[in-house]
Amino acid sequence: MTIFNLYIFDRNGTCLYYREWNRTRQSGLAKEEEFKLMYGMLFSLKSFITRMSPTDQKEGLLNLRTNQYKLHFYETATGLKFVMNTDINEAASAPNVTALLHEIYQSIYVEFVVKNRLCALDKPIESEIFHRKLDDYIRGLPMFATKTSS
């Protein structure tokens, strides 16, 4: 599986963090604009799904897929939104990316941003240690950058 990029938004729509690994195409927008568009899409998508759902929902959106990528979504009760784009791996052995996003929240975001009193929670994350831990974690994943042959 290939990991393309990761966005972290707070509940006000501020993009707290963005990082890309194997992204091959840019959207052609300035980064700020891209963040706004991504947040806007998620916001509308959530509202779309709530209305469309035939039964009561708990988590709501899990992921969406096009013919080129799959967007995985994880939202905490505090409204933090983690978005990771990967390639489309439909194999049964494909790792559960939502669980992975939870892990990033639990072991990296909470530990190195929330518990660092000097990191503002509503501003983009500038912490070097957060950046390094996250990068190490992603690159250390067994699935990192292994193209699935399909």
Binding site: G13, G40, T78, Q106, S107, V114
Partner: protein
Amino acid sequence: MSRQSNRGADPRKVSGELFTLTYGSLVAQLVKDYENDEEVNKQLEKMGYNIGCRLIEDFLARSSVGRCYDFKETADVISKVGFKMYLGITPVVTNWSATGDEFSLLLENNPLTEFVELPEGHSNLNYSCLLCGVLKGAMEMIQMEVAVWFVQDQLKGDNVTEIRVKFVRRLEDAVPAGED
């Protein structure tokens, strides 16, 4: 619950005495710095609020508690999971209002006040006001505005310490800029 026990064995665990003493000197310093008790209460609550905003993330990350859809459920989680996790006590949830939007937490032992005697002339000081702020901050992060205040305090001669929590309203997610 396994997390809980792991935590007990954590070598980084801070002693309860050190914590209560630290908190105590903080309050004592504030009492020195500010003219009146109301101002000290306000400062304590503000600090608590900032702690709550962060603590909630740690709480959600560690406990497997999901979103609450009912205030009764919320009260239970605060007492049985939240207080248990961070203060090692489980307050009794009681005195529900008729509309179910207000309840009390009864603390038999408040770890913050273990060695404390309030000095003369500070009858308005809410020594543990930090707790109110923590609850308020944490709840606000999960889209619930609440009011929290002390009703009874063992430090003031009451039999039990009672914290009252009132549901005010639900907060909405922010709408993206330039969209309706």
